[in-house]
């Protein structure tokens, strides 16, 4: 027989609660309070911003178009989602629902998706590659317009500490080479080439006391993906060099400059330029760190070894502008040619796919030197 206390306690459980008029029933013991008070109430339907954009779009297109606008902004906000699969899905969705012809929307898309170049997930990056290609196909000048931000992220990816991100960086560069070659090589030739050197773990200067062990080992020992990536890198380097060092075949312009009759022979120079953002190299509207002025004494000490021979030096790289092809060629010849050929030869010795690509790359360089020497001969003959 249980004790008296236990019996009374047991009885208590079966006592029926008395309900009284005008009083709410007592809450059970295991009741959990789920009510909450909100600090803010968001009413997205009444937001001024969306209404304005609604009005703007409704004047031009139908109501369904405005619906896609809202949908798109929502999707773009999801590009910062924590789950990688969601991010990938979002990119896929955007790719499938690209707007017809709306520059501001494309600007939004580029601005919010480009940071994903540094994304940790492989899927997301591959999806982004296809999205960017799709965008470039639909809007021809788009990448030219946004090259400044895109190239920054690509450079950042090329020097990233994660090898996977580094590996995919050149694929993004390939898109730029394909779709916006001129603005790429004009403004970012040197920077890209230097990033390539760090990417491939090549060194510019030969007088290094010790060669870094870790990166060379990681690149040689590393798994097959790294190897494959390297062959890919070299092939893209080849196309990059091709794009930057040789005059592309002139697309037939509508206007043949030679034959147009103008009031003044120089007036062509004062027309609106055909390229997008022709004055970017002046950096008029960008916030940038001012370059530290190298004092004259420093310069002298740097150049003391090699006297002024009309060649570029590594120290000059920060100050050079690479708008025209002759400067680019000169830079390649003066600075990059020697280390490039040396490293490419090393790769050729390795053989395999990488060696093949390296061989192709080397032929580009040889073609360049041959062309330049023939030019020189022409000049001398003339």
């Amino acid at each position: 027989m249980a004790s008296k206390r236990k019996r009374t306690e047991k009885q208590k459980d079966f006592v029926k609660a008395k309900l009284k008029v005008g009083k709410t029933a007592k809450k059970p013991d295991n009741y959990t309070d789920t009510s909450f008070t909100a600090k803010t109430i968001s009413l997205p339907n009444q937001s001024i911003q969306s209404r304005v954009s609604n009005a703007g779009s409704s004047s031009t297109s139908s109501g369904s178009a405005s619906q896609t606008d809202i949908d798109l902004t929502h999707q773009l906000s999801l590009t910062k989602h924590h789950s990688s699969s969601t991010r990938k899905e979002v990119l896929l969705y955007i790719q499938n629902h690209l707007p017809a012809n709306n520059p501001s929307l494309y600007k939004q898309i580029v601005a919010s998706t480009v940071p994903l170049i540094l994304d940790t997930s492989m899927q997301v990056r591959t999806q982004l590659i296809s999205l960017l290609t799709e965008c470039a196909n639909k809007q021809p000048g788009l990448l030219d317009l946004h090259i400044r931000s895109i190239i920054l992220f690509i450079h950042s990816a090329m020097t990233h500490i994660q090898p996977e991100i580094r590996n995919s960086a050149s694929k993004f560069l390939a898109i730029l080479i394909e779709h916006a070659p001129s603005s790429l090589v004009k403004s970012y030739f040197i920077k890209t080439l230097r990033s390539y050197f760090t990417l491939m773990s090549w060194t510019l200067t030969t007088d290094k006391k010790s060669v870094s062990l870790a990166i060379t080992t990681s690149s040689t020992i590393g798994n097959s993906s790294v190897k494959k990536a390297r062959s890919h890198h070299v092939s893209i380097l080849k196309s990059f060099l091709n794009a930057s060092l040789f005059i592309e075949e002139q697309k037939n312009n509508d206007i043949d400059e030679e034959n147009v009759i103008l009031t003044h022979p120089q007036s062509l120079k004062y027309l609106v330029p055909t390229t997008s953002q022709p004055f970017t190299s002046l950096k008029l509207f960008t916030a940038d760190m001012p370059r530290r002025q190298i004092s004259s004494t420093d310069k002298e000490s740097m150049n003391s070894g090699s006297s002024d021979d009309g060649k570029f030096h590594i120290a000059d790289l920060d100050t050079l502008s690479t708008e025209d092809i002759s400067t680019r060629r000169k830079i390649i010849i003066d600075i990059f040619l020697h280390p490039l050929t040396k490293n490419l030869n090393n790769l050729i010795k390795e053989g395999g796919e990488v060696g093949k690509e390296a061989k192709g790359c080397l032929t580009v360089l040889e073609k360049l030197t041959a062309e330049i020497s023939s030019n020189k001969e022409n000049e001398t003959t003339i």
Binding site: H155, T286, A287
Partner: protein, 747 residues
């Protein structure tokens, strides 16, 4: 194999990479170059769109990495510190709080590695301290945390720079920044005061430039800044002393401050003064042992460059101008306190303040005791008596009359006494005599106050008192016509000898040293360095009381010597036949009024050496050597019990407003009386009755029941009736049996 794998794996983690790079910068140069260019590109990404960038965790990590290893690659990272500086100076509003914190941390790290100078660090982070004022709303910027970080960084930076030798250059440049801050009219100057105060408290800044900053702050138009400045002058030195006391006085058993206070409050005796001396000695010893900190305890008020101008400006700008209403009463009182301290310490002349006090000196005024204390502090002997006498007249009219409460009257009289100790000429004879009439008051506080006034004037100017109040000594002097006339305005008492010289002369006589030997001895000219240092150290610590004592000692000498000769035989019962000295407290007071005199009597009783004569003798006959001065110092400390008691009224001493009212005993309420009576009855059970109390708990015994049984029920029982009918013999038997029983029990 494992090693190769490790080499291939490691550089994917930036922290590990940092570790590797620091171990062997040569080998990992390429990895570093890669990360540095990554940093550059991330920086450019950030600069392209500063506001829209995300948290920047990776960027922060990279900044940390580069600043940690940039000592290894000084050439590659030459522009890095400038980058960081510009980043934080121009974009601090766009940076996320974490990133901002990280950058400041990194800059501090760079400065610790001596990559950047302390000046440039201060110039970088100082503007951020004041960048977010309260006016522009900056929610979600964690401004408070930022300021806290910068503030503590600045403090620790200045501390580390100033350990060992002080870096005057950096101090000056920082102080210049603070001056600039104080020139603006908004309340950003508060940071200047905060910083200065903290550095002063820690003893890092202790020069007159620092004080100059605070004078600027005190004169600032903004209320908060001005109040902070004033608080510095009123409390900073105490704070600093506390800070240093905390550091030092943990291990030893006594508290010097408490001891000095006890000496001032309690009855003085030889034993106690010896104790104090012992304490001072041990304290000195301890100071010698760790005299590493070379800090001079100059009070902030003493370091002022232009005290007169400062006091005048304070009075004109903050108290007497039409903008004075921006301060509330407490703040005004604070300024009154500060100005009066200045006036008292430096003996300044700010005549306007005495009439300014008149407005506030009424019993109904809130916090009037503090104002009274300020008015007492503001008076000294170089103020024209006609400026102070209105204050005294006003206090006498408002506070001291038959109609007011006892505490009001006592506060009034006490304040008047405090003023008069500093400026004895500021009262007329009639008013003084009116006030002394209160010695017969029923209230003890008032009576005591009046008596203290009398005893003050017995010493200063007995002829102003009524005849019966003058006391024996003073009236005898007056009869003999020896006492010179009372104090005169403008006649300043000057120092005419080296204090304590007569002690030296006496000592030399006792030692049997003639006047001629000593000065040729080489050893006497060289005193041990440590000794010297210790002397100086000790002197600075006790500078306040010491100085004052010296002056009074040498000045009062001739008068007191005369007195001593006369009163030599009966100096023990000197006070006993005065009509006022009936109770102990009075005696206390009497002694406290002139401990100097008593001490003098003790030391100079057997052989009196006239100070002036001694000086003439000594100085004309021989040159004093450093050894002589050392001995002099020693003798003075031996004889100088009284200097440690802080006996004489000093102008630098602040008047404590709480003591002005005196002790007032109120009638107790009924509850209090009951509570007090109950308190007295505790623990007295054993003396009370035991009735109705049991030692051990038990039910009623048969005996108790029988005893309690109703009488009517028992009266007809045989046991009761039978006793009545007992024969005489039986009755006697019973009685006897009872007696033997009782005897056996021991009664």
């Amino acid at each position: 194999m494992a090693k190769r794998r490790r080499a291939a794996m490691l550089p994917t983690n930036i922290i590990l990479l940092q570790n590797l790079v620091r171990r062997d910068p040569e080998v990992y140069h390429d990895e570093f170059a890669q990360q540095y260019s990554h940093y550059l590109s991330l920086r450019d990404i950030f600069l392209m769109n500063p506001s829209a960038s995300d948290k920047g965790i990776e960027f922060g990590e990279l900044i940390g990495f580069v600043s940690a290893v940039c000592g290894c690659y000084p050439q590659e990272t030459a522009t890095f510190p400038d980058d960081l500086k510009q980043l934080i100076l121009e974009n601090h509003r766009d940076l996320s709080p974490e990133l901002r914190e990280k950058i400041i941390q990194c800059l501090t790290m760079l400065r610790n590695k001596d990559v950047i100078s302390a000046e440039s660090l201060i110039q970088t982070i100082f503007p951020l301290l004041t960048a977010y004022s309260a006016s522009n709303s900056t929610t979600g910027q964690h401004v408070k945390a930022l300021r806290h970080q910068i503030y503590s960084t600045l403090i620790s930076l200045l501390k580390s720079v100033n350990t060992g030798t002080k870096s005057q250059k950096l101090n000056r440049s920082t102080q210049a920044l603070l001056f600039n801050l104080l020139e603006q009219r908004d309340n950003q100057g508060l940071w200047a005061t905060k910083l200065t105060r903290e550095l002063w408290r820690r003893g890092i800044w202790d020069d007159s430039r620092t004080v100059e900053i605070m004078t600027q702050a005190a004169l600032h138009p903004d209320v908060k800044v001005a109040v902070a400045g004033a608080k510095f002058f009123l409390g900073a030195d105490k704070e600093r002393e506390e800070n240093f006391d905390d550091n030092s006085s943990d291990e030893d058993g006594f508290d010097m401050g408490a001891m000095k206070h006890k000496m001032q409050v309690n009855k003085k005796s030889k034993k106690k003064s010896k104790k104090l001396e012992q304490a001072v000695k041990t304290l000195k010893k301890k100071n010698n042992s760790k005299s590493s900190t070379t800090y001079l305890n100059f009070s902030a008020i003493h370091l002022l460059r232009d005290p007169q101008g400062f006091a005048e400006q304070l009075f004109d700008n903050h108290l007497n101008s039409k903008h004075a209403n921006k301060f509330d009463l407490d703040q005004k009182i604070m300024f009154m306190n500060l100005i009066s301290r200045l006036i008292g310490t430096h003996k300044l002349t700010v005549l306007g303040i005495y009439t300014f006090f008149l407005k506030y000196l009424t019993p109904k005024q809130r916090n009037v005791t503090q104002i009274m204390a300020a008015s007492a502090q503001a008076s000294h002997d170089l103020v024209p008596p006609e400026s102070i006498s209105p204050v005294i007249r006003k206090i006498a009219d408002e506070f001291v009359s038959d109609g007011v409460a006892a505490e009001v009257a006592s506060a009034g009289i006490n304040t008047i006494r405090e003023i008069l100790t500093r400026a004895p000429l500021a009262i007329e004879k009639d008013l003084l005599q009116d006030l002394t009439e209160y010695k017969g008051s029923k209230s003890k506080a008032v009576m005591m106050a009046a008596r203290s006034l009398i005893s003050l004037y017995r010493e200063v100017a007995p002829e102003m008192l009524q005849r019966k109040d003058r006391g024996k000594t003073a009236s005898m002097e007056l009869q003999h016509g020896e006492k010179k006339g009372g104090p005169q305005y403008g006649v300043e008492q000057t120092v005419r000898s080296i204090p304590g010289l007569e002690l030296l002369a006496k000592w030399r006589k006792e030692q049997g040293l003639g006047n001629e030997d000593g000065e040729d001895d080489e050893a006497n000219w060289e005193v041990d360095e440590e000794d010297n240092a210790s002397d100086i150290e000790g002197d600075w610590v006790t500078v306040d009381s010491d100085k004052e004592y010296d002056v009074s000692d040498s000045d009062d000498e001739p008068v007191e010597e005369d007195k001593n000769e006369k009163d030599d035989n009966d100096n023990d019962n000197e006070v006993s036949d005065l009509e006022l000295s009936s109770d102990d407290e009075e005696e206390d007071e009497e002694e406290s009024e002139r401990p100097a005199k008593k001490a003098k009597i003790d030391t100079a009783a057997e052989e009196t050496v006239d100070a002036e004569k001694a000086m003439a003798e000594m100085l004309s006959s021989r040159i004093l050597t450093p050894a002589d001065f050392a001995k002099l110092e020693e003798l003075r400390t031996q004889a100088g019990v009284e200097k440690l008691m802080g006996s004489r009224q000093a102008n630098e001493e602040e008047v404590d407003s709480t003591t002005l009212v005196g002790k007032v005993k109120y009638k107790q309420l009924r509850e209090e009386r009951i509570a007090q009576a109950k308190e007295g009855r505790e623990e007295r059970d054993k003396f009370g009755s035991r009735r109705g109390k049991r030692d051990a708990p038990h039910s009623t015994t048969n005996k108790e029941k029988a005893r309690k049984k109703n009488f009517v029920m028992m009266i007809h029982k045989k046991a009761v009736q039978g006793k009545q009918k007992l024969s005489l013999r039986d009755r006697q038997k019973v009685l006897k049996a009872h007696i033997t029983k009782q005897k056996k029990k021991g009664y």
